[in-house]
Symmetry: C4
Subunit: 285 residues, 4 copies
């Protein structure tokens, strides 16, 4: 009796979901990382031959694994819908490209390195961390743009004034920006400054103002991220669990609103009760 396409897919799903299979995939990724690392050490040709064989074995295993995951989905569209699947697919297919010639060997090795990133897509906790990083990127966009404008202006000024003093550091706007990044990391920035101060004694204003502004923008970015993260964490807690301070406040709000409606009803009842024993009320008012 031949296997129907459907039962075959179910079988692939079973393999994919298998805890042992998942662990094995992680082991192979770690092995692949170790092979990459080991290759940077000098070994005699025999050992190297083993590495090459191991490499092909790993490549084949990854190919099999991704095929299983593809076949486990109802169609290819469903597979590629998940960003992490596309990520895995690109990494696996890229390392399939034959790179035997000496020229392309470097590219081949480079592509194999990115296999290590598959760890991130496999371990859920790392995937969560990565997603958190991705979410923080847009917020940093405009701050980065502002930072870039500051760097650009200072680099232009720097290359106009200091370009002739030391072309290696201030030759053109691109080199100047790299030099300014160096100043921003405090890496031998005084050497850069003392050199230009010999010609322009007031050039310390240039460096100090740059350091202050960059530190300030960076600080602001950091605080922005902290605030953003806090608020989103707060909100998450608030929605999901209903626990924590924010959740309790929300609970109190809802119940206060309910109590208010009940009190309104009760007051109506009391008012209706009130006038009946007449005579009493008129005396007061």
């Amino acid at each position: 009796m031949p296997l129907s396409a459907r039962s075959l897919r179910e079988r692939f799903v079973l393999i994919r979901e298998n805890k042992l299979f998942e662990t094995f995939v992680i082991v192979v990724i770690v092995l692949s990382a170790l092979v990459i690392g080991a290759k940077t050490y000098p070994f005699n040709p025999t050992v190297f031959q083993i590495f090459v064989i191991l490499d092909w074995g790993i490549t084949l295993f990854f190919l099999t694994e991704i095929l299983i995951r593809m076949l486990a989905e109802p169609n290819l569209k469903a597979f590629f819908k998940k960003g992490w699947n596309l990520f895995d697919f690109l990494i696996v297919t890229a390392s399939l490209i034959p790179v035997d010639e000496s020229e392309m060997a470097l590219l081949g090795r480079l592509l194999r390195i990115f296999r290590v990133l598959r760890l991130v897509s496999l371990i859920p906790e790392l995937r969560v961390l990565m997603n958190a990083f991705m979410q923080a990127i847009p917020r940093m966009g405009y701050v980065s743009l502002l930072m870039f404008i500051i760097f650009y202006i200072y680099a232009a000024i720097g290359s106009i004034f200091f370009g002739k003093i030391n072309p290696d550091l201030w030759g053109n706007i691109a080199i100047s920006m790299l030099t300014l990044f160096r100043v921003a990391t405090f890496e031998d920035w005084t050497d850069v400054m003392y050199e230009t101060m010999a010609e322009y004694p007031l050039s310390w204003v240039f460096y100090l103002s740059f350091i202050f502004i960059v530190a300030f923008v960076f600080l602001n970015m950091m605080i922005g991220i902290v605030l953003e993260t806090m608020q989103s964490e707060h909100e998450k807690l608030y929605r999901e669990t209903g626990q924590g301070e924010a959740g309790e406040v929300h609970w109190i709000k809802q119940h206060t609103a309910e109590m208010e409606r009940r009190l309104e009803r009760m007051e109506q009842l009391l008012i209706r009760l009130g006038p009946q024993p007449d005579g009493q009320r008129k005396d007061d008012s």
Copy 2:
């Protein structure tokens, strides 16, 4: 039929508000930034001639643009009231100053660089960031003053004791302050210290105490900004949306006050109801 002054102004407003016009202004600013950057590279005279023409074109465009924005306002006073308009006006007029002589050429190039800052005044998100920076400045004022006093005292001590050891680093109070700023950024500070420790073995106390104090003041400033930003963000959320924890607490407060008033009314009603079936109440009290 001649255009009346009013309809002319409306036409300028239409141009100013035009989305396409705005985008074009940004494109011209970016182009102007690229020209500034390109000029720092060596080019043959023909290309340079193109840059000079481009430069004049950009200057004329900016002049036209600012005139449109000026004429779009009912009067000049309304135009200059907005800080960003004044900022743009100064940048544009400054680059109009003829700077053909070799001496002034440097200043001319410098003034043109600041045109890049117009990006900040045009993109609303960057304007918001800039305003946030401006607001943080006063708060830092007194901390900066304290920092300056600390630097001044240490610089005075440094130049008295180490002035003869290395005049390049401790020659006078200004140089000493620059050296201390270097120490504060950890830039080759041990070289500075080892030199003076050769004569004064206990001078490490000077450096370590300085590093600790400066780090501490800086930390305090940073925390101050974080707290300030948090509080203002909190308050903003609170007023504007009424959402979030702070907003909900405020809602609860108001409704609790209302409930209290209602309960008071209800209690009064109940007390009035109570004595009717007389005899009951007097027994208790």
Copy 3:
């Protein structure tokens, strides 16, 4: 009359709990630390002899002290159950190992240094700090793993491309990781970069992207710890004291729930009261 085992244990408990004894133990630990420090200075043999005797005295005292604490417990299992006791026991027994031969002398001195750590186990405030550190470790686990993966990938790329340029910095993946850690601390990182930029002019992309990613992951880790600490501090305050904002909100929640139940009862009473003066109610509904 011989002492019973029980009264002997009680006597040991008394010694252990004695405030004077505790202070004396701290004094001996500080003395032991001073001896360790003093030994790093050159002294004449006579003084050194005193140090050796002092060392043995301290070792014997620590042995006695730990025996007292062991005998003060009902059994050994109870003693070793507390992590700090095991910690103390290991430090004391390790320094008992005879290390007279020149080869082992280094190890002996090393083991004696760790006696200073006993200060941490004795002073309650330091123990609290240490426990706080321990609790933060798991949270950092996955972030550290992610950091390690990033370092590994960059180190692999680095050793492939720059391995031949400077084997001292990029010879193999281990050396490359150390070099990258150096770059992450901004320690002379431009020297590393300029060297590789001579061959690969675009290698600045490698360094700048690495610095940005590492700084970003580190920032995220820091924020994570801050958030975690804040939340746990918040919760602690909340449970223990019932004071502070979180405690008050919790109090309000509980009392609101109680008020609701009371109001429900009251409404029932009112409804029951309502229909008595009949005719009134039927008219309305």
Copy 4:
């Protein structure tokens, strides 16, 4: 008519409180700071003579000022009760000590520098900042002790192992601690590491573990200060204004408690009302 002692004191109080007098004191302090700074530059003897006269003038003025403030108080005890008065008194009297001999001249100049600190005691905003710093000190005590223990242990290990490799960096425990502080500031730490790695290839473990531990303890300290500051700011807001979220929560708590008492009274009233029209109640239950 001679002035009575009391009216004289009142006159001194008037001088002390005078806004103009206060401003003049600040001007003199700034002048005194400028003289200190100017003295670090080479001047011809005539100018120097002016500085000496100015110095004496300032000293006399400070003496007069402190006497006025002393006489403005009812007695000396009241004057010295305020910490800032004692601070000012010490600074002023210290600079009175005659230091004409060449040997003591250095000390004299040193003491005059501290006069600049009087700015801190005079400007209220700086005094607030200083008080905030003072309050943060105790909290840091135990963390600093832990930091010191870590430095001590690593310094002992360092001087035992690396003492012979480079006595200038690891000669004894004191020098080792200074070297470790240098490593903690990332100042040329790789030079220190590479030197010892030549003999002990695994010594990178020593440096990396040290950097991680110190960074971690420092981070913890920083977070501790942030949390502490936030909590105290929170509490201050809470007590003083009753505004803000914390204040509103407190308000809600108090009013909820009040509402509860009122509801209890109302329920009692209702229960008392209920049973009167008897027969009704028995039917229900």
